[in-house]
Symmetry: C2
DNA sequence: GGTTAAGTCGAGGGCTGCCTCGACTTTCGT
DNA sequence: ACGAAAGTCGAGGCAGCCCTCGACTTAACC
């Protein structure tokens, strides 16, 4: 049962795009909690119009982040294609947090449990799937501590989100210290 | 020039104590950002009276936390008295975060830069002094990575604050993974 | 017990952010 | 070029939190 909504009127389509652009920009700059009024202002659209197009903050998230989360798949594929299991896992983490560091909104999405939009959830699940394989490969190769699990990555992700917020220039160093601790043997 | 304020009236002293107790409790339960109105309510005192005794949130922090921060000195002394440099440093971190995990307010105080009260600041400085000695000893003994510094502890503290907030049952595990990574040689 | 400084109270004003709704304006098919 | 449907607008109500101030109450000292 597809609810075939008729096409948007020209001005409506224009406003929708302006809102999306403004939201994407502000989420990236200031995080998910930016006031909706600021988004409306930057889009040069009234608050009423904003609510017409996106009745909730979640609606913005659902419209903006699935595309951005595709990057997760890319770095997942890249890691899976890396032959050395240690390099694959460590590189995955590095790429993941580099992504988070570039976009405060994405940082928030991945760190909190909030995002309910099904497309966001499924993208996260795919990411977790990649991570699980990488962990399994690392453990099997004896290069990762055997009790390491996806839950540890989740915890790390929240910790990294905080480090990225507080001191954007320090996260690589922090990660490298953490990561060294995962190795059961030296290179 | 000591501004010898005359003693408080009996009812005022009583209210002051009720406010302190309420604030201590709510800070510990809900963190530093608890609404001042809630503190007044729990103390069974009007909001006006609250402001009379503690004109700012900082005033509460200054009244409550110096005592609590004394615990920092205790664990610092304990660590300095530990002969094995590795054990001393690792134990210090463990004790420090155990403290944070017990008190959301303390967790906030140590993680944010906020607290301006001189007594709070100096307690933090003393703590940092202890940590610096412990790091130096660890590095000298070749048991800590030689580039480790107090700034890394600061970053770790913010990260741990987040982990403690999100998943109070996971912080020990997270810390142990991080900590293992500091060792330059196996036990 | 009367005086008075000290203390208490809470309504209310300010601010920020969320969200709604009815009056107005624009598009678009005919 | 007209009318209906679609869209836009923004004032304003609501809520949470901050903080103040003037009217009232009370402890403390004589």
């Amino acid at each position: 049962m597809v609810t075939a909504s008729r096409p948007l009127r020209a001005d409506a389509a224009r406003n929708r795009e302006k809102l999306l652009a403004a939201a994407a920009q502000l989420f990236a700059e200031r995080g998910l909690d930016v006031p909706l009024e600021h988004i409306a202002r930057r889009a040069e659209v009234s608050i009423g119009t904003l609510y017409k197009h996106f009745p909730t903050r979640e609606a913005f998230v659902a419209a903006i982040f699935p595309e951005r989360l595709a990057a997760l798949d890319v770095i997942g594929e890249k890691a899976l294609a890396t032959p050395d299991p240690w390099q694959a896992f460590a590189g995955y983490l590095e790429d993941l947090y580099a992504l988070q560091a570039e976009d405060r909104g994405l940082n928030d999405v991945l760190a909190r449990d909030l995002p309910n939009a099904p497309e966001v959830v499924s993208a996260c699940h795919r990411g977790a799937g990649h991570a699980e394989i990488l962990i399994a490969r690392g453990v099997e190769a004896g290069v990762l501590r055997p009790d390491y699990s996806i839950a540890d990555v989740a915890t790390l992700t929240r910790a990294m989100a905080q480090v990225i917020r507080d001191s954007p220039s320090e996260w690589r160093r922090f990660l490298s210290i953490y990561v060294e601790g995962l190795r059961t043997q030296s290179p």
